[in-house]
């Protein structure tokens, strides 16, 4: 499978993501710069990494979501191409309307970087098939605005549809997210957004490989 990483000024976990995808996929992902309006047809997985796109000066992800490259990502997503947004990437997917809800400032009002526990909420998505439902994994977080919020109807629908891919587990919710939501997929199941950083837990040097199965699933099982 071929992967691509979206590059926007201010993103800063792009190198982490490129390193992780390279290690897992055996080939470096293609990179797509902010001004590009078309994404090659042979790309099977598009990843928007973490960081502070455009400084996050207006609202996290708000400026990025209006860039041409994100419109191109949305078109691909509509055609079923897999898309993962991590941290700022998740915020961008929400701002772009590819996923429901919003991420507010952490309940602590502080940036938080620590390891938390994640429970796999749905192991039947293309991103989580390498895990078992209910499995608890380790994963680091590093963000200032990861407090997931949405209206009650949307919350009910994403819960009922099995769209909650990951939940903070064992009392480790670091940001006050509703229902401990850490990551969600869209209704079609081909777009995943999550706040934690699985790309920072994929090799021995990271002290664990719990994040690996996510990328292996996303890259492996596709036709």
């Amino acid at each position: 499978m071929k992967a691509a990483v979206v590059l926007l000024p201010g993103l800063n976990r792009d190198r982490d993501m490129i390193a992780a995808l390279t290690r897992i996929n055996g080939a470096a992902p293609q990179t797509i710069w902010q001004t590009e309006t078309e994404i090659a047809d042979d790309i099977d997985l598009i990843v928007i990494p973490g960081g502070f796109s455009y400084g996050d000066y207006l609202r996290c992800g708000a400026i990025a979501a209006r860039m041409p490259v994100i419109r191109a990502v949305a078109e691909k997503a509509a055609r079923g191409v897999r898309v993962i947004g991590v941290c700022n990437g998740f915020q961008i997917l929400l701002e772009a309307g590819l996923l429901p809800g919003a991420l507010m400032r952490n309940a602590s009002l502080k940036f938080v970087c620590r390891e938390i526990k994640l429970e796999v909420g749905n192991a039947e998505t293309v991103f989580t098939s390498g895990y078992a439902k209910g499995q608890v994994i380790r994963c680091p977080v590093a963000h200032h605005d990861g407090n997931y919020f949405t209206d009650p109807e949307t919350l009910k629908s994403i819960e009922d549809n099995g769209q909650v891919a990951f939940r903070y587990a064992e009392g480790t919710n670091p940001n006050g997210s509703l229902n401990d939501i850490a990551g969600i997929v869209n209704k079609a199941g081909n777009v995943l957004g999550l706040m934690p950083h699985p790309e920072n837990l994929i090799e021995a040097a990271h002290g664990g490989i719990d994040g690996r199965a996510l990328f292996e699933s996303a890259l492996g099982a596709a036709a």
């Binding site: 800063n12 976990r13 982490d16 390193a19 400084g55 996050d56 502080k110 940036f111 970087c113 590093a142």
Partner: protein
């Protein structure tokens, strides 16, 4: 509209620029006429303490700055040290004390931004940051506000820029009530054959302005940072710059991209004294003149005067001398990253610094006298007094040893700093091997299978206050020891010397003796100083800070799979003390926090012993024999054991009956050159025989076992209870829910 450059040069105006009458006379002698208003500003910017090191230069020259691995010592934006395989580490530490006290968030943020820029100006990609922070007493009215603002500022900039913060210090003392300290360290990786310097070369070449636009923020910042504080401090807020980490991240990427093309001849970031300092340094170092046309400078605001443009400390800006044939290529890179790119002048052969604005020459000064030939003082200094020895028998034992340890573990100065470092991104870049909370931060070297770098920042200000010479030595030794405790070979260091007003002989005496001690230790440990910064005038209403010469060190780990951490001992392992039994209680935190006494001399540092014991510990780690290692410092053996127990979540059963001396000295003595290691039981004898053979003192103390820290019949405390005490102080303090009794 023409913006005036003519103000009468009065005595008040000269004094408000921080220039002394004799310095002004020197200006008159140099240029043979009265300076223009802009010229006065330029002199003020270049000759202040912050930029000229005029009080410290004589003494800084005595420091060892060379070594087989040193590629670039002090004098450039950062020091450069060879780490083999064609790679080098580029690093420096710099203070942002004055601005952080006035405006904590932006002061700290731009301190981080400034040091990152210093590193990537040299062509290095930043890979690690640290911050040594010092605040007033916890119960002082401003302390919480400063802690919250500074920590958020450090995180706000570093997290957004994308560098992991892997270490640092946070300390409280009433002597910092009026002046907090923010010392920011950054390190980057570069190729040894692709280091960029600030020395301009070639006449008639374009001088290019890069990065963010120039605004009115930070005008006169460097001069402000070279003065004491008084009641008028709130009026100084406009001298603090405002940071934009997004632009800095773009500037990093654009600079590294441009450097790869080979178009850059010289480059200098605009830090203190902005455009003035960067242009003068590039010209003076290269024995060239510089002519600047301010009408070409990208500005954020209309109607800025020449004076404001020359003294603005707007952030995220660079000045560069460019190969003219590559101009279009260079410009395209900066346009891609959305940054300003403007040719604002050129190099000349007349050694003059000329500034044009609106068709008028607003400054024409001799560039060498502004830069590398700025004034230098040999200020009078007084030999500091010394404390007479304080035997342990003159220090009361605690009634309850367990209670004493819990007090220390949960005290303001020794409790967990988790509240602080969880606000820093410690993991970004995916190379962090050891996070804050251990002896040193460790980061893997990208592109290598096994290599890693260790970073530590250290100083014990109460030791330096009691004896500046020994305290200076100890700061270096502790940094060297912390690196060694991970298995790293200490390579080189950077010094950030924070002191009070050098015009007072007793303060100057502290500075002189501390530098002497630092120099002696660096020579003995082959740990040269390759970069640094001096921050003087840390005084408010005549009271100076504790003398605080922070040492930031870098060490090399050839194989990170043979690296030690503090919390990785396994049940059944033997616990071994390397070094002498504890005996020295003078200036210990046991005396300070349990007895409220600050007496006696600090522990002496025997540098030969330091080296011998450290080399032994490093060999044990590299041979794969140590399962964990921790250096002994404040709080002595007791605190080190407690920290290892908390980090590993395993208890220890310790027996001190073979040790010599009273229990409180054994447990809380702060004697130097010591470590605790844990080794598998079947290797304990081998390690101890090796120690004996190496002439290294040791004690077998006990074993890793159970869930409590048990020291003979003195105490038996559950690790969970130690941890509750250790983790609770900081969050409670910041929430304002600290029980008064705990303070």
């Amino acid at each position: 509209m023409t913006i005036p450059n003519t103000f009468p040069i009065t005595e008040d105006l000269i004094a408000s620029h921080g220039l002394k009458p004799d310095e002004y006379q020197r200006i008159l002698d140099l240029i043979g006429r009265e300076p223009s208003f802009t010229e006065l500003g330029i002199f003020s910017a270049m000759w202040n303490e912050h930029c000229s090191y005029k009080s410290s230069k004589k003494w800084l020259r005595t420091l060892p700055t060379t070594g087989p691995r040193v590629i670039q010592g002090p004098g450039e934006n950062a020091g450069v040290v060879d780490i083999g395989d064609g790679d080098c580490v580029v690093f420096k530490m710099e203070s942002h004390n004055h601005p952080s006290y006035i405006e904590p968030y932006q002061g700290a943020a731009t301190g981080v931004g400034g040091i990152l820029r210093d590193v990537f100006t040299m062509g290095a990609r930043p890979i690690a940051a640290m911050n040594a922070l010092r605040f007033g007493a916890p119960d002082h009215a401003k302390t919480r506000h400063l802690v919250a603002g500074v920590v958020a500022g450090v995180g706000g900039y570093g997290n957004s820029f994308g560098v992991p913060t892997v270490g640092g210090e946070v300390e409280f003392d009433a002597r910092y009530n009026g002046n907090c300290l923010v010392n920011a360290f950054a390190a980057g990786l570069a190729k040894s054959d692709a280091i960029f310097l600030s020395e301009a070369k070639g006449v008639g070449l374009p001088v290019v302005y890069l990065g963010a636009k120039t605004g009115r923020d930070g005008v006169g910042g460097a001069t402000m940072a070279s003065a004491e504080f008084d009641e008028s401090i709130e009026e100084k807020r406009p001298t603090v710059q405002v940071g934009d980490p997004f632009t800095e991240k773009c500037l990093l990427e654009a600079c590294l991209e441009l450097m790869q093309t080979g178009a850059v001849i010289a480059i200098q970031d605009m830090g203190a004294a902005g455009l003035t300092c960067s242009a003068v340094e590039m010209g003076a170092k290269g024995d060239l003149g510089i002519e600047l046309d301010l009408d070409k400078v990208p500005v954020r605001e209309a109607n800025m005067s020449a004076y404001e443009m020359m003294l603005s400390e707007s952030q995220e800006r660079m000045l560069m001398v460019l190969d003219p044939s590559r101009e279009d290529e260079a410009k395209a890179i900066f346009v891609k990253w959305g940054l300003d790119f403007a040719i604002v002048g050129h190099t000349t052969d007349d050694l003059r610094f000329r500034v044009l604005h609106q068709g008028e020459e607003v400054a024409n000064l001799p560039i060498k006298d502004l830069g590398d030939q700025a004034p230098e003082y040999d200020r009078p200094w007084r030999e500091p007094g010394r404390f007479s020895p304080l035997p342990a028998s003159d220090v009361a034992e605690p009634e309850d040893y367990g209670a004493a340890l819990l007090t220390l573990v949960g005290s303001a100065n020794n409790c967990s700093r988790r509240w602080v470092w969880e606000q820093y991104d410690t993991l970004i870049q995916g190379n962090s091997l050891q996070l804050p909370g251990g002896d040193a931060g460790v980061v893997r070297v990208e592109g290598h299978d096994t290599k890693a770098l260790a970073f530590s920042s250290d100083v014990t200000p109460r030791y330096v206050e009691a004896d500046p010479f020994e305290g200076g030595k100890q700061a270096v030794a502790e940094c060297w020891r912390n690196l060694t405790a991970t298995g790293a070979e200490p390579l080189a260091s950077t010094d950030n010397l924070n002191f009070g007003n050098p015009e007072r002989p007793e303060i100057m005496g502290q500075l002189v003796k501390a530098i002497e001690g630092i120099g002696e230790a660096c020579r003995a440990l082959d740990f040269p100083i390759v970069s640094g910064n001096v921050s003087l005038y840390n005084e408010t209403n005549g009271e100076g800070i504790l003398p605080t010469p922070t040492i930031g060190g870098v060490g090399l780990i050839p194989d990170w799979t043979q690296m030690a951490r503090i919390g990785t001992g396994n049940p059944g392992d033997s616990v071994i003390l390397i070094g002498r039994d504890g005996s020295h209680l003078g200036q210990s935190i046991y005396m300070r926090d349990c007895l409220d006494r600050a007496e006696g001399p600090p522990p002496e540092v025997d540098l030969l012993e330091e080296r011998r014991n450290g080399d032994f510990v490093r060999s044990v780690i590299r041979n794969g024999q140590a399962t964990a290692c921790h250096d002994l410092s404040s709080g002595g053996l007791a605190l080190a054991l407690a920290e290892m127990a908390m980090a590993s979540d395993h208890g220890m059963d310790i027996d001190l009956s073979a040790c010599q001396g009273p229990s409180h000295a054994l447990l809380f003595g702060e004697d130097q050159a010591r470590y605790v290691i844990t080794v598998p039981a079947d290797l304990a004898n081998y390690v101890m025989v090796s120690a004996e053979g190496a002439g290294v003192p040791f004690r077998q103390l006990g074993t890793v076992s159970g869930a409590s820290l048990k020291i003979g019949s003195l105490f038996d405390i559950a690790v969970s209870r130690l941890r509750d005490s250790h983790e609770s102080w900081f969050p409670a303090f910041m929430d304002g829910t600290l029980a008064p009794a705990a303070e």
